[in-house]
Structure formats: structure tokens, C-alpha cells
Symmetry: C2
Subunit: 312 residues, 2 copies
DNA sequence: CGAAGAGCATAAGCTCAACTACTCACCTGC
DNA sequence: GCAGGTGAGTAGTTGAGCTTATGCTCTTCG
């Protein structure tokens, strides 16, 4: 690590490069960052002096500028460095707020129903000093963004997760079951119904749920588009509609209320691949003792849950 | 990305934090970085003002300082950022030198013998404009360090690789074979000899080779320490000694010269787990087109090589 | 074809942050 | 209690980077 010109490199230089790449011009970037155009021009000049290469191609006149290859490569590094700084900032903010005993956990509805209550009970027994703040979101992508920004420490998620600065842990496989009204002929079969048989029936579907989209793709692969007569994001509503005879639903087992007398649950025996529920966290952020403990508790609770249905 | 105090953060702050952590005192860190003690003290004060937390515990007097929890967490982020900057620097240096057509590849002896000649021939036929610079090292760890510093673009390696900023690709499994003098009773057996039978014989071993250490651990696991009568890092020497009847050797198949009339090669049928040869590169560095092409060629050549011995 | 406009570069001046040099306050250990 | 080593504080100077103002280049349009 010789003390060469790279030590003169400043974060503002990288921020400026990114702003120019985003905005497409020196002037817009300057405006965005609250500088004058001249300042940005000088910053880029300094940056190019430091790395020794032209980073931005200025054709002159009102023609649009573009990043050189070196500029593009450096921009990727700059992005990574800024992301890492955000993670550091989030860690520091958490420590500053005295958050050693606070854990912000993201969930979505279908995982909330069965896993969360048990997990919270078990976790708060073993770690009463840790305050768990739950954040439920309809939009699953939002949860990932909050992880990336450091607004959440952990989140539940259906794996696999999109590429990003994430670390993941598989918790359990949640098989899909068919939910039908009491007395439905599909429930009377000795064998699990085929997808073809299911797709002929009216279906109650979900919105905003990638795991459910996945089911509909499976159904559509039979060659016949499923007839979705109603959509809701509330599992209770879906199950109520099934009970009322409006249609049937293909739901993850963990979301269905098995004590509901108006419906019957039919095992699909893997005809639709089980969804995988896991935990996701920011790969660059510090894992607090509380977070580690929460993960451990989640593993334990999910182990119980995956054994139970098999025994039942 | 609100323009808060974090934009005032400077790389020198992080470098200073790291220097203090390494040296254990403000003064030593200042000396190392070429500043006065006062400058370092002010830098840390500025850094603590930015993050809003005390990073270093100063007990006062000549008692040693220590990092607070926040300091340790921030230090890990700082290390990652500095590593990423080094990667960026290496990418820029490569571009500056007009290295689009140069590829620096690390190897070690045992992979050099069979794979490299074929690979270089095949690669230079398809990519004549790319200059490949080979760097062979006895010390395998040195190769990884050179990858990390950006002194190498790719290196061969026996997987798995130690944790670090690396990306790896498995190329082939190279099984171990027993090399014995012509006429050895072990070669006359109908079945592959057992480890117990091997360990009773005098062994020719290797130095400086983690893959070979692994073999000796396997042999020692029989309960009897192998009797290593000679060591050499040169495969030719080892094979020569076997041919001269000094002992026998357990070598990866790719390192042995099968045309040597003074020795016989005995298949061990997996009694010693095969070593895995792969390629390693820096996960944060830019992959040039030349590097991508080289990896492709390596995959193709190794596929051929792993099929051949099975057919032979 | 010339004027207008958009966009980056450059020059000059100013501000402020950071370094050096020096001093002080503090604690340990002999 | 004093010497030695450690970090903090203060004053002064230097320099990097910002703003303002201006210049240059290329395109567009009447």
C-alpha cells in the first residue's frame, strides 16, 4: 500500500462519477449533488489525474458524453464501495441508537401466519432483553430494498433470492396443498388430483406474490390457462371464498387454517414444487449477537414445523 | 443517499483507523503513515464526529488503546473498502498498461506438466492476439496473494480455496495413483492395494505442497506413520527415485509420466480422494474478455483430459 | 451561413479543512 | 516524586476545492 496518488482519492470523486453516469451530463450531475458544473468538471479532472486514465468521453459541443471502458469498470467498483459505506453507516446508526437489543425483521403475510407467532414466543422466552420489531410488507421486493438500505436487520423471503449483497439461509420447504370446499369431488379421490384436474376448476388466486405467480405458471404449463375468478392478498379471504364454494386454491401449507370446517385440505404430493422459506440478511453488515440468536431460534422453530405436518 | 456528514468521510480516515488498529498507538500509526501524532489524533476525532460514536478507547496515560465495538465493526468495513480500492487500482493499472491483450496466469508444478501445454496451444490458436504470461510458484499461498494484490489475473489452484475475495471454478478431479518400480509386488495384485499395504513401504514425498500433505494425512490415518525416505518438489525426481527402487509414491495422475519404463502406475480406485483442480480469480476485479476466453479454453481442455484417462 | 444555445474547460479568488509544531495533561513505573 | 511515553488542544500556515466568470467547441435553426 505505497502512498501514491490513490490516497488523494476522495469519496466525492466516486459519487460524482456515479452521478454523471446516472444523469448523463456534468451539469445535471452538479445540480443533483448541489455543486456547480465547474466543481464537477474539476472533480472528474482530479479523478482522471489520480487513476491516470480518461474516464469520460466528452465529444465536445452539445453531444452526449459517455463513460470509457475504464470509467465503466471504475464505476462498478465505486458502486460497491458506496454500498459498503451504506452498510457501515447502517451499522453505526444501529449502534448509535443503542440497538444492540433491537432487531428489525421483515416478513410477508404467508410466513407470518404460522412461523412468526411460534418463533416470537420461543425467541422472547430465551432472549427477553431483545426487542423485535416486525415489518410486514405486501411487496416482497421492498423487503430486500430495506435490507440493502440497512432499514431491516433480517427478513424472511422465499428463496432463491435475486442477486445482490445478501446472505441467505434455507429454513424449510413449504409444500403446496389444494384447498377445496367441503364435499368437493377432488377431495374424495384416493390419489392426489393432477394439475389438469385442478386447472379445470375456478381458482382463487393471490396478488403481489411471486411464490403464487409460480403456482399459476405451473398450472398454465398443463396447456390450459387457469381460470382465476378472484384474487386477494389476504389468506383468510381466499380461504373464505373457497369455503363459500367460489373456487379452489393452491396454497402453501403454512398459510392454510387446517381447523376451518368449511374447507378440506388435499395433499398434492409435490405435484407443485414446494416453496423454500428462508432468512436473508445483508452480507456486508455486522451480525449482532441478537441477530445470530434469532437465526438460531428460527432454525429450531422451523425444524419443529417441518416435522409436525409429516407426523400429522 | 442524503448528503449528510458521511460525505465528509475521507479515505485517509479509514486508513488511519486501520493503521492504529495494526500498530496499537496513535504515534506509531502516525509514523507509519508519515504524519505527526497530532494529525492522526485529529483524523480520528473527525472520524468519530462523522460516525457519531467513540471508535477507540483511550484509557489515558501509557496504557494501551483498544478499539470499541463500533471501531471493530467499522474497521471490517474499512478493510473491505480498501481491498476494493486495491482491486480498482489493479484494474486501472492493467488498462493503463494497455493490458487488454495480456493475461497473467499463476500455476504450480503439478498442474503445469499436463494441462498447461495443451491449454496454451489450444488457447493461442483461438486467441493469437492474447499474450499469456505464466508465473509458476512453489509456494501456493503466494499465488493467492498475487491474485489479491492484482499481480495475477487468474491462477490454478487445488480447491477448496481459503476464504477471501476469490471466485473459483472447478475444472477437473485428478485422482491419485500409486507409482511403483517395475516388478513391484503391489503392481501384481488383482485389486488396488490398500492404504495399509502402501504405508508399510518406503515413500517418496513432496515438499511445499498442500495437496501432497493431504495424501500423507490420509496414509497416517491408517494408524501407522508413513516412512518418508526422501522429499522433492520435482515430479521428475520423485519418479526417478521410484524407478531406482528407493521407494514408491502416491501422486496425482496428471503429474506422472506414464511412458516412463522404469515405473508402473497403479490405480487406487479412489482410496485417496481425488484432488480438485480449479481456477481462482479475484471476485472484485474486472474480468476481461481475454480472461473469460481463457477460462472457457481451460474448461474445454480439462474436459478432454478427464475423459481420456478413463478411456485409456 | 451566421447567430444562438448547450455543454465542458479553464482562470482567479476565496474559504475552510487539515497538517505541523509546540504545549499541556495524564498515567505508569522505577 | 520524577522521568518517559501517550493522547489532546491550540495557533499558524498551507493547499485543495468551491464559486463566479469567461472561453471554447460543436450543433441547430432561421
Amino acid at each position: 500500500m505505497e502512498p501514491d496518488r490513490w490516497l488523494g482519492l476522495d469519496l466525492r470523486h466516486l459519487v460524482a462519477l456515479k452521478a454523471i453516469a446516472d444523469e448523463g451530463s456534468f451539469g445535471k450531475a452538479a445540480e443533483k449533488l448541489g455543486y456547480t458544473q465547474s466543481a464537477i468538471s474539476q472533480q472528474i479532472a482530479a479523478l482522471e489525474r489520480i487513476v491516470g486514465l480518461r474516464l469520460i468521453e466528452r465529444p465536445g459541443g452539445p453531444r452526449p458524453i459517455s463513460l470509457t471502458e475504464a470509467g465503466q469498470i471504475l464505476l462498478r467498483h465505486a458502486d460497491a464501495i458506496q454500498a459498503r459505506l451504506l452498510a457501515a453507516r447502517a451499522d453505526m446508526a444501529a449502534l448509535e441508537a443503542g440497538d444492540a437489543g433491537r432487531l428489525r425483521v421483515g416478513t410477508f403475510q404467508s410466513v407470518g401466519a404460522k412461523i412468526i407467532p411460534r418463533l416470537l414466543r420461543s425467541f422472547s422466552e430465551t432472549h427477553p432483553q431483545v426487542e423485535v420489531v416486525l415489518r410486514e410488507s405486501q411487496d416482497e421486493r421492498e423487503l430486500l430494498e430495506m435490507i440493502e438500505r440497512g432499514d431491516l436487520d433480517l427478513t424472511f423471503w422465499t428463496l432463491p433470492v435475486d442477486p445482490g449483497p445478501y446472505e441467505t439461509l434455507e429454513l424449510l420447504h413449504d409444500p403446496y396443498v389444494l384447498v377445496v370446499p367441503v364435499g368437493s369431488p377432488l377431495a374424495a379421490l384416493k390419489r392426489p388430483p393432477t394439475l389438469k384436474e385442478i386447472v379445470l376448476q375456478p381458482i382463487i388466486g393471490f396478488n403481489h406474490c411471486s411464490a403464487m405467480d409460480h403456482v399459476e405458471v405451473q398450472l398454465a404449463s398443463t396447456g390450459r390457462a387457469p381460470n382465476v375468478v378472484f384474487r386477494s392478498d389476504n389468506n383468510g379471504t381466499v380461504q373464505g371464498l373457497v369455503g363459500a364454494g367460489v373456487g379452489l386454491a393452491v396454497s402453501p401449507r403454512l398459510t392454510v387454517d387446517e381447523d376451518d370446517p368449511s374447507v378440506e385440505i388435499v395433499d398434492l404430493h409435490g405435484r407443485v414444487p414446494a416453496r423454500v422459506i428462508g432468512l436473508v440478511w445483508h452480507s456486508d453488515r455486522h451480525r449482532s449477537a441478537a441477530a445470530e440468536a434469532f437465526v438460531e431460534s428460527a432454525i429450531a422453530v422451523c425444524d419443529e414445523l417441518s416435522i409436525e405436518p409429516a407426523a400429522a
